[in-house]
């Protein structure tokens, strides 16, 4: 029996890989014109990285407030189907406007239609593990709702950590937990593909001299983002080591960016601005705290960005031009930063009670390997290569495969949304070409 006979076949106009804001924008535009779209999202919720952020620069809009209505529009659009916890295993181009993808749907072990999101399974589950959606700041259960504004907001069972005790099954009022679910494979036929696979954050363990994971009060910017979010785990900003409210916080910019020693020579484009934003938010929530940002160059280039930077300076955020070389810990959990103060021309040391590593943007690798008979070219930094970057920025090396958002390189939210718009426009004209044949 060949694979095709085993798999259920689904037909769409466009397959969008990745349900973050860029993929979502492309999908919505295409669906609004009337095309049938399938979004395949690897995580348990759509909304990408943005839905997990606190507020967004330079307008300080609440990220959830902007993302949730978009996510909700995507979820209920009659022309959009969303698979979460799913990924394409193979995409084959059979000819122009003829793509076939094998999509793997991982079991959630929960009947998505029946689950009401009541969270009784969470209460019943005896297993606690680290919560990846809170970037390790707190724990979660093995039966869990990914996060409070997830879409779909239904439970999932983390089978890796589940001990199969059955407590969740017994607690579930609509009886929607189903351990018999198995992997499903679908054969998805589509006329075009949009890759919106987003980015990965730099892993600061690669710079041991910054002491991440060794020193409790050194955290990443994404962890700080969660501490500042409306759905924040501690309901205030605390340093993880002892739960003390920090009053002297340092930001180390370019952690993992513009750094050939970790293999990433390029600038991540967003860290300066998100750090400045976090500094402003911290001054709001911890009015007595001192914030120092150690930087090489402040890249405040977008609309309203430089003004936002100036505002932070006026608010009293201290900016020190210099690279941090090493971080050491004192007995009380405070941290000593050894850095080059470029303006003073000497190496100095400074003490802070909490350090935030402004980690950079890395390519989310692997999508190129999914393409079967044609090559999806990557650029020297392993982002998806834009084959006609100046005239058609969404084009890739494969006709009919387009790229949206940070899959092609670091960019901020406004740029990702415009890039998502561009991908939908170019997909439309590719599809129109078939219609006119």
């Amino acid at each position: 029996m060949n694979m095709q006979e085993q798999m259920k076949t689904l037909d769409y106009d466009v397959l969008v890989v990745g349900g973050g804001i860029a993929g979502g924008e492309s999908a919505l535009n295409l669906a609004n014109i009337g095309y049938k779209v399938l979004i395949v999202e690897k995580e348990l919720s759509i909304g990408g990285k943005m839905i997990l952020l606190s507020k967004v620069f330079p307008t300080l809009d609440c990220a959830a407030c902007i993302t949730t209505p978009k996510v909700s529009e995507i979820a209920r659009h009659p022309n959009i189907t969303v698979f979460t916890g799913a990924e394409p295993l193979k995409i084959t181009k059979k000819g122009e406007h003829r793509f076939e993808a094998v999509v793997l749907q991982n079991p959630r072990y929960v009947d998505v239609e029946a689950c009401t999101g009541c969270q009784l399974c969470e209460e019943a589950c005896p297993v606690s593990v680290t919560d990846e959606f809170q970037f390790g700041l707190i724990g979660r259960k093995a039966a869990f709702i990914p996060f409070s504004i997830a879409s779909p907001r239904v439970a999932a069972i983390d089978i890796e950590n589940c001990i199969l005790c059955g407590a969740c099954e017994r607690a579930c009022p609509p009886d929607c937990i189903d351990f018999t679910q198995t992997e499903q494979k679908y054969l998805v036929k589509a006329k075009a593909v949009v890759t919106a696979t987003g980015f990965k954050l730099f892993d600061p363990l690669k710079i041991p001299r910054y002491g991440y994971d060794k020193f409790d009060n050194v955290i990443t910017s994404m962890q700080m983002e969660r501490e500042l979010a409306p759905t924040r785990p501690f309901n205030t900003v605390l340093r993880p080591g002892d739960g003390k409210m920090p009053d002297n916080i340092a930001y180390v910019l370019c952690t993992g960016s513009r750094d050939k020693s970790v293999g990433n020579p390029i600038c991540s484009q967003v860290c300066c601005m998100y750090s400045i934003k976090q500094a402003q938010l911290l001054m709001g929530s911890l009015p007595m705290a001192d914030i120092t940002i150690y930087y090489l160059h402040i890249r405040a280039f977008g609309k309203g960005f430089n003004e936002f930077y100036a505002q932070a300076q006026d608010m009293g955020v201290e900016f020190i031009k210099g690279k941090v070389g090493k971080i050491t810990e004192k007995d009380n959990g405070n941290l000593i930063l050894r850095y080059e103060d470029i303006e003073a021309g000497i190496v100095k040391e400074a003490e802070h009670d909490m350090v935030v590593l402004s980690v950079g943007v890395l390519p989310n690798r692997g999508i190129d390997e999914v393409f079967d008979n044609e090559t999806l070219k990557l650029d020297p930094f392993h982002f998806i290569n834009q084959s006609d970057i100046l005239a058609s920025p969404a084009k890739t090396s494969i006709d009919g495969v387009f790229v949206a958002g940070t899959a092609s390189g670091p960019m901020d939210i406004p740029d990702s949304i415009l890039s998502g718009g561009a991908a939908s426009a170019e997909t439309t004209s590719y599809l129109r070409r078939e219609e006119s044949i």
Binding site: I33, T59, C62, A64, C65, I66, T68, P69, K70, V71, S72, A75, G117, S148, S151, P152, R153, P230, N235, P265, I266, S268, H297, I298, R299, A300, F301, G302, K303, G304, F305, N306, E307, I342, E343, G345, F381, Q386, D388, I389, L390, A391, S392, P393, G409, P410, P414, D415, I417, L418, S419, G420, G421, A422, S424, A425, E426, T428, S429, R432
Partner: protein, 644 residues
């Protein structure tokens, strides 16, 4: 009067509930007349809560709904859609803003904030009691788009719109297409030349039978509104017939005796009154600049295509949407700014690029070979005292790219970059790295301590207190000083004024919302693309052009538009035209008509935005705002007043 009103009070995570006691708000309004149900919710806008609201409305037959949450700018439409999905006409929904107007504004006074929130929700309930079901106004939309500006963004948008299936009018003020990019040689990343990129786009534009390109054309009048704009285009003749002999054309240019500074080359060269900006420019036909032509008739003698009888034409065009891609002007330094206009070898970056373009074996300026080049960054951008507080985004990369090009093209060139912190964001970083490896020297100062350009004897000296070398005073004798001028909004804003497109603090066209609606403006049907919205490089301009094309297309494609019914209406019995409403209206929605033997005001429903500016000025009280009657507003005010 409503009897089954549902009220939802949102925590907004903690954005509201950290300062407003939402449970107290809920309890206080629960007892209001007509309130059937009052709930609190963590995120009213979240999908799960929207589902719950739909169920509530359906199961309990709610006849009015209030959500107390953030600004209606964010979520009015979200909750109207919830009502609609539940089968309740969306105008039975009223939004109460207790975040921007309460929790964020009064974070220092929790008790006061809670009391204010209660009042605001009570006022919304007072309004929803009167709410009536309304139907949107349907207007037909013309499936055509006017794209203003045929630079790279405008041309790209035109191509996309035509491919998607709209009729496109591409309107360019100049006689030639290509905008600023045609003034550039090698372009960063692809290394194709500006001309090559323009050629590719122009060929695509001309391939589409649904694109009409109008050059020498300007929109001079606009009436109508979204779906049905009627624009009047003034087309200035180029005074050349389409059919002509290329040899004769060159001859005509040659014999023209008029010489004026060439704006295309930023006045570093001269051109004739008959001109094209460069050979084979598109459209491949020169034009006669009638402002400077002396009518000597020399050209007519050598070229049969010259036609002085061509007249200015006007063309009326009907379109459903207008896409603005009007680009930018380079900043023009003031006389004396870093020696500009006073020291002869101080030029701007755009001029420098033209100088490089025209230099062959050696880089020459004013008859002298150039070896030492000083670039001064952020001229006209990030100003401490001036108006331009913004960063122009493209210039760091553009300058470094130009500096590398110069080094590759000419021998013994030394580049000195007087910068304020290099902003080669993203992958552009590799260029900065390359230039450093090629030996370019970077010197930096902060905003308040810029470099100084002086003439000392025969030499032009650039001095800086360099923070990269512990504030050492350094100076460079430069053969040419290049002022890295930023992007500024177009000086000529006639199209912006005509369409009433608002501008941001930076004076570029302003979008509705940077993340939710980045290419739309508050003028329905008018979208913005490229550098007209703010500084951008080419790729970014393309992304915004393609996004704007998508938005314009989705507006006009269906052939019909639904507009807000909450607009002004005229009481025809009591109105005696006095024109006060017309004067007060910011959108020109009023028209004077004759009816039943008298003159009265008439509202154009496609133009009226329901802003209400006309209501208070009407001496006969003949105007009413649908959905915001006097009774509604008076009851809301009563609800807001302190309890007696």
């Amino acid at each position: 009067m409503k009897k089954k009103i549902g009220v939802y009070v949102c925590h907004c995570g903690g954005n509201i509930s950290d300062y407003v006691d939402v449970e107290r708000v809920r309890a206080a309004v629960e007892k209001e007349d007509g309130v059937f149900l009052a709930k609190t919710t963590m995120f009213a806008c979240a999908d799960s809560n929207q589902k719950e609201m739909v169920n509530d409305i359906k199961e309990m037959n709610l006849d009015g709904v209030v959500v107390a949450s953030c600004s209606p700018k964010l979520h009015l439409l979200t909750f109207r859609a919830v009502s609609e999905r539940a089968g309740l006409n969306k105008y039975n929904y009223v939004h109460a803003n207790i975040r921007e107007q309460v929790s964020w504004a009064h974070s220092d006074d929790k008790e006061g904030a809670t009391q204010k929130a209660i009042k605001i929700v009570e006022a919304a309930i007072a309004k929803v009691r009167h709410a009536e079901s309304l139907d949107p106004i349907k207007v037909k939309a013309t499936n055509a788009v006017a794209v203003i500006g045929a630079g790279v963004a405008g041309m790209r948008a035109a191509i996309e719109l035509a491919e998607a299936g709209s009729e496109v009018f591409l309107i360019e003020r100049e006689f030639f297409v290509g905008g600023r990019v045609s003034q550039w040689d090698n372009l960063f990343v692809s290394e194709e030349s500006g001309k090559e990129l323009i050629t590719r786009l122009y060929d695509e534009v001309m391939k589409h039978k649904h694109v009409t390109l109008l050059t020498g054309a300007e929109v001079v009048e606009n009436s109508g509104s979204v779906g049905n704009f009627e624009v009047k285009v003034k087309i200035t003749p180029r005074h050349f017939k389409l059919q002509c002999n290329p040899g004769e054309l060159d001859k005509a240019i040659e014999v023209c005796p008029v010489e004026i500074p060439d704006e295309f080359n930023f006045n570093i060269t001269k051109r004739k009154a008959i001109y094209h900006n460069y050979p084979s420019e598109y459209p491949q036909l020169p034009a006669i600049d009638m402002k400077n032509c002396t009518r000597c008739g020399e050209c007519e003698k050598v070229c049969t295509a010259v036609d002085f009888s061509q007249k200015t034409e006007y063309r009326n065009i009907k379109v459903g949407s207008i896409l603005l891609a009007t680009g930018f002007d380079p900043y023009e330094p003031k006389k004396g700014e870093f020696g500009y206009g006073e020291i002869d070898n101080v030029v701007t970056l755009p001029q420098f690029k033209r100088i490089v373009h025209y230099s062959k074996d050696k880089l020459m300026y004013n008859g002298k070979e150039v070896k030492h080049i000083a670039y001064i960054y952020c001229v006209g951008s990030r100003q401490v005292d001036g108006e331009n507080k913004y960063c122009s985004r493209y210039c760091c990369t553009a300058t470094i790219h130009a500096a590398i090009d110069v080094k590759k093209k000419f021998k013994n060139v030394h580049n000195y970059h007087f910068n304020r912190g290099i902003r080669t964001y993203g992958k552009q970083e590799v260029l900065y790295d390359e230039s450093s490896r090629l030996g370019d020297i970077y010197l930096q100062s902060f905003e308040h301590d810029p470099p100084i350009v002086e003439k000392v004897g025969n030499e032009t000296i650039v001095k800086i207190k360099d923070i990269l070398t512990k504030d050492q005073e350094l100076d460079v004798a430069a053969d040419i000083v290049v002022l890295v001028t930023g992007m500024t909004p177009r000086k000529d804003n006639s199209i912006g004024n005509l369409l009433k497109v608002p501008k941001g603090r930076d004076k570029f066209f302003n979008e509705i919302h940077m993340k939710l609606r980045p290419v739309e403006t508050v003028i329905d049907g008018v979208t913005i693309a490229g550098a007209s919205q703010g500084p951008k490089n080419i790729m970014e301009s393309m992304n915004s052009a393609l996004s704007a094309a998508t938005k314009s297309f989705s507006l006009v494609a269906s052939g019909e538009l639904a507009l807000e019914p909450t607009i002004a209406e005229v009481n025809e019995d009591t109105c005696e035209w006095c024109g006060k409403c017309d004067e007060a209206c910011p959108y020109s929605a009023f028209e004077k008509i004759e009816k039943n033997g008298k003159f009265i005001a008439k509202v154009n429903p496609a133009i009226c935005k329901g802003c209400g500016m006309c209501l208070p000025v009407c001496p006969a009280n003949s105007l009413n705002l649908i959905g915001f009657t006097d009774e509604d507003v008076e009851d809301m005010i009563d609800a807001l007043l302190p309890n007696t």
